[in-house]
Amino acid sequence: MTSPVVSEAEELVRSGIERVSAADALDDLTELQTELLGKKSRLNAMRAALKDATPEDRKTLGRALNVSRTELERSLTDRRAILTEQVRRAALDAEQLDLTESLGRVRVGHVHPITQTWERLEDVFVGMGFSVEDGPEVETDWFNFEALNLPPSHPARSLWDTLYLDSSEIPGVAPEQLVLRTHTSPVQVRTMMRAVRENSGPPIYVVCPGRVYRRDTADATHLPVFHQIEGLVVDEGITMGDLSGTIEEFTKAYFGESLTSRLRPSFFPFTEPSAEVDISQPDGSWLEVGGCGMVHPNVLRYAGLDPERWTGFAFGFGIDRLAYIRHGVADLRDLVTNDMRFLEQF
């Protein structure tokens, strides 16, 4: 026969759990906890009444009351966890945002497409063992032409529409002595001369990216200012086959493994033999990307190197050309007007 105390405790647990489960606010739960388990609770009173029971009953009934208390506590804890989660969730739901409401507060900067191509080219050549050199944009006639096997009044000088600086105010400088360099090739000469002066080469493996100038009107297909990357290798035993192989390696690294290059005879005063570099296109046509050739013995001589001992090759690509082909820029003037709508595309 069940003790009345036990029956009452079981009833207290049953009705308590029912009320806890029904509570839907944390405050209600706190009140319930005081009512069910607090000092003035029925359970507490029942425990106090045990002091009059027999020692044996006290032990059994005490255990039963403890179990009841534990059960009520657990139900309160479980319910509190649920209600807490509901409150947290409601607070977060109240903060819901439409993530597509963009106010454009964050603006990301963009690197100019010419620079992006420039850096890709540098990276490819660095990977092939070249170091990167640069030189001045205002050059002397000597570096821009003469040391490149283009003596004064050489007819081939007309291949470059040259901009000269007005040097009439500069003492000791004759007219047409200062040019805005028409190509990056003078850096070849400077690099070789420095190697000789500092006794640091050959071997020379360098690329020289930089800005060059031509006397040209800006239109959709021409700019008076553009960029080239020049390559120079000088060592013992360098051959046209080395040039061809280096161009091929570059082609695969820059344009992709499936494309190939060809050399087509051409003419530049500072290289001989000279060639144009064509890159095969997926449609089977050839894209002309630049010129190259074996460094002319006279150029080596001007730079202070013995052409009987050293041979070398040089090549030059148009950086802008590669950039506008890559990105499909239809009007080159877009590259210099700095319209944000253009720059932010890249």
């Binding site: 170091s131 002397t140 007819p155 080395d242 003419f267 033999p273 144009e276 210099v336």
Partner: protein, 799 residues
């Protein structure tokens, strides 16, 4: 140069399709600029006669033309050209014709008037470049027949070849044919002109004196009689048109034909009009005048060559243009034809100073074949006999001046293989270049035995071993050379400069700025517009005044870019640029001394600059601070200063390590007004030429304290004139090295603070590397800082 394939076939029996031949040309270094198919798709074009030409009643630029197709009916055509008159024979594209360019001819109304076909210009039917007039056919062309029948047009392929400066020989049909014959292994047949010679000997009729042997290397002259000036036959007119030359009359046409075919320009004189029947070759006297064939009187320089007559009067400019006084006319009886070799440099100078560039001067300045002249003279006689009924007098006037020597070139087969990367035998090399006219002999059979190579007279560009190596490579085929990759003994790397530029660029982009690349040219006045001094280098020969000044600052270009965007309602632009400027203050060193040739304009500097629109100066300073951190130079010192073109109260000079390296602040609102920029623009500019030369060291890591930190907020009321940087320095100085950070978090201005005063509030975070700071210590530091700031700056702690 335009090369009709049919003309090539006169000399070499090529039989390749267009694509194959294009590859052969490319491989020979004869770059194909274009290919044109002519004489195809002309069915439906017939010969018609113009009956009447009148204005369109409602359109000024359109004529109404009645034509007869041979059936006697008048057919009305509307036409944009008006160069025809009644009686002219013209080509008419009849209704239903598909033109070579794909256009279909249909009857249609033009401004209310019917047009029943189209009259054709030469370019529309592939007969030359003329686009601005209808082709007028020779009188007597049969009415109503098809145009191809009337003109005996055969389908042809016209190659537009880009001839390189080192290939003077390829500026002729035979030169191109010679390359093809060698590469394709086909026989080359230049032929032998068949011309009978009658009459008195030319040497008794005229004489030539070369007074300047450096100017004229050879002067061949022959005399012809009995020419009837008239139109050339169709085959010749069409060939010339296909080659891009307008047919004129039989004498001019033969002259051009011989030039194109053999590369020997030539000139004809009415011998009777040459005083004394004597031609004297000399330099012009300075200021000497001559009326040239085009009717223009030209003043010559002493560098120009002339052909003078027996009275020493100039009657032609050597190699450039003939004179008007001896021009051939209908009354001409005896024609003297000149076939000369002129010094290339002299002709280059002359053509350029006179600005007279012609097909003849182009060939002379590249260098002609001095040995072709007698042959070309006979070819001239043969052709003019056929087209003008002339006869050739026996006797050749052949005077020589100084021709370039053609010493044999010694070519070392080993060297050839070394440069090309080939493994050719000496015989193999010889076999490659003999078909293009280089003759070789070898002293022995070894690769070390030199080949003695005689250069052909048409390749005066070839004078050295390397020139012959190039020809061997070209004829071998550059693409056949095995590809090898040389190995750099050092690893590749970016230099410190490139690395620094990349780091800077990353920082700018990270701060939300985009990279600008404006043209570095400025117009006169652009620098003043920016408030900068106007001393920039000037381009001596600019194409346009707007591009005549080199920038001394990146500011004009960046502000122009901002203005460009502002004009398109794009605000808040943030741009940076890394680029060179050219200072006027620094003068070039003496460039005549070869030892100093490594030094150029000291005024060329590498700069970094940025514009932040809708932003005030402090933002630019913060950006600058970050950039200098990236470059690992500092500390940054701002020296407040009025700088040209910048806001006088909001700009400062930047100093690093005691050196001025740039400026920061805001652009002067007056300057912004002149650019029509309506928002504040903050600015920074760093002279990288200086900054990148400051030695830096690798960052050494500082350990981060593991102990708790304590924050203290202090606000000081301080005089406006005292820079926040001074206050900051005082706080730091009084912090006993225990301030982990000192951050300005509030600037407050109020009348209540007193006139000329502001409140600066700092959060100081104290932290020791080795212990937890006690409250008492922090309190002591706080009191010390307050006392120091109050005594040094006369500031008071704001309650």
């Amino acid at each position: 140069m335009k090369v009709p394939q049919s003309w090539l076939r006169d000399f070499v029996p090529i039989d390749l399709d267009v694509e194959e031949l294009a590859n052969v040309f490319a491989d020979l270094g004869l770059e194909v600029d274009g290919v044109q198919h002519v004489g195809e798709g002309l069915e439906g074009i017939v010969v018609a006669e113009v009956l009447d030409v009148r204005k369109h009643p409602d359109a000024d630029r359109i004529c109404l033309v009645d034509v007869d197709l041979g059936d006697g009916e008048a057919l009305q055509i509307a036409c944009g050209a008006s160069n025809m008159t009644a009686g002219d024979m013209i080509p008419l594209a009849t209704i239903g014709t598909t033109m070579p360019n794909g256009m279909e001819i249909a009857a249609r109304k033009m401004r209310g008037e019917m047009s029943n076909g189209m009259l054709c210009s030469p370019s529309e039917i592939g007969l030359g470049d003329v686009t601005d007039g209808i082709l007028i056919l020779p009188a007597g062309t049969e009415l109503g027949v098809s145009l191809t029948e009337a003109l005996e047009i055969a389908p042809d392929v016209i190659w537009d070849l880009d001839i390189l400066p080192n290939r003077p020989d390829a500026l002729s049909i035979v030169g191109v044919a010679r390359d093809l014959s060698a590469r394709l292994g086909l026989p080359m047949n230049v032929g032998d002109p068949k011309v009978s010679e009658t009459g008195s000997d030319a040497t008794s009729m005229a004489s030539v004196e070369i007074l300047d042997p450096d100017l004229c290397g050879r002067f061949v002259a022959r005399v012809l009689s009995g020419v009837t000036i008239g139109e050339s036959p169709q085959w010749m007119a069409q060939r010339l048109a296909a080659a891009g030359m307008r047919p004129i009359n039989n004498v001019v046409d033969v002259s051009n034909y011989v030039m194109l075919e053999l590369g020997q320009p030539n000139h004809t004189y009415d011998l009777a009009k040459v005083a004394g029947q004597t031609l004297r070759v000399r330099r012009a006297t300075e200021g000497e005048a001559i009326e040239t064939l085009d009717g223009v009187t030209r003043i010559l320089h002493s560098s120009d060559g002339v052909i003078a007559d027996g009275n020493n009067r100039a009657i032609g400019i050597a190699g450039v243009m003939g004179g008007a006084s001896t021009e051939i006319s209908d009354s001409t009886e005896d024609v003297l034809v000149e076939l000369a070799w002129w010094d290339p440099m002299s002709i280059a100078v002359s053509a350029s100073t006179l600005n007279l560039h012609s097909e003849a001067s182009l060939r002379f300045k590249r260098g002609c074949d001095p040995e072709i002249a007698p042959f070309a003279a006979r070819r001239f006689g043969e052709l003019l006999a056929e087209t003008g009924g002339s006869s050739l007098h026996p006797g050749v006037i052949d005077e020589f001046g100084n021709l370039p020597s053609r010493e044999p070139v010694h070519v070392r087969p080993e060297r050839v293989n070394l440069v090309l990367g080939t493994e050719l035998s000496a015989d193999g090399m010889a076999n490659l270049i003999e078909p293009i006219g280089f003759t070789t002999t070898q002293s022995g059979n070894d690769l070390s035995d030199a080949l003695t190579v005689q250069i052909p007279s048409w390749r005066h560009d070839s004078t050295a071993e390397v020139d012959v190596i190039e020809e061997i490579g070209r004829m071998y085929g550059l693409d056949r050379i095995p590809k090898t990759v040389p190995t750099s003994p050092r690893g590749g790397s970016l230099g410190p400069r490139q690395q620094a530029l990349r780091a800077l660029r990353r920082s700018f982009v990270g701060a939300g700025l985009s990279e600008a690349m404006p043209l570095p040219f400025l117009a006169p006045g652009d620098l003043e517009k920016c408030g900068l001094s106007a001393e920039g280098y000037v381009v001596a020969n600019p194409l346009a005044a707007e591009e005549s000044v080199l920038r001394t600052s990146l500011r004009p270009g960046l502000l122009a870019s901002v203005a460009y965007n502002a004009a398109r309602r794009i605000n808040g632009v943030r741009l940076f640029e890394l680029g060179r400027v050219f200072g006027a203050a620094d003068v070039i060193v003496d460039i005549s001394d070869s030892a100093e040739r490594g030094v150029v304009l000291a005024g060329e500097r590498e700069m970094a600059a940025a514009v932040l629109c809708g932003s005030e100066a402090p933002e630019a300073v913060e950006l600058l601070d970050g950039l200098l951190d990236v470059l690992r130079v500092g500390p940054l010192i701002l020296v407040p200063e009025e700088l040209p073109g910048l806001h006088p109260g909001r700009s400062a000079r930047i100093e690093v390590a005691g050196i001025g390296v740039g400026s920061v602040g805001e652009v002067d609102p007056g300057v912004l007004d002149s650019f029509e920029i309506n928002e504040r623009v903050s600015w920074l500019e760093i002279d990288l030429s200086i900054v990148l030369s400051i030695p830096t060291s690798v960052v050494r890591a500082q350990p981060v304290s593991r102990y708790p930190s304590s924050d203290v907020d202090l606000a000081f009321v301080i005089d406006d004139r005292i820079p926040a940087a001074s206050l900051l320095a005082t706080i730091r100085g009084a912090s006993e090295g225990l301030a982990e950070s000192v951050d300005l978090f509030d600037v407050f201005v109020s009348r209540g603070l007193g006139e000329g005063k502001r409140s600066l509030a700092y959060r100081i975070r104290f932290q020791a590397p080795d212990r937890t700071l006690k409250d008492k210590e922090v309190a002591r530091l706080r009191e010390g800082i307050i006392a120091e700031v109050e005594s040094v700056h006369g500031a008071t702690l704001r309650a």
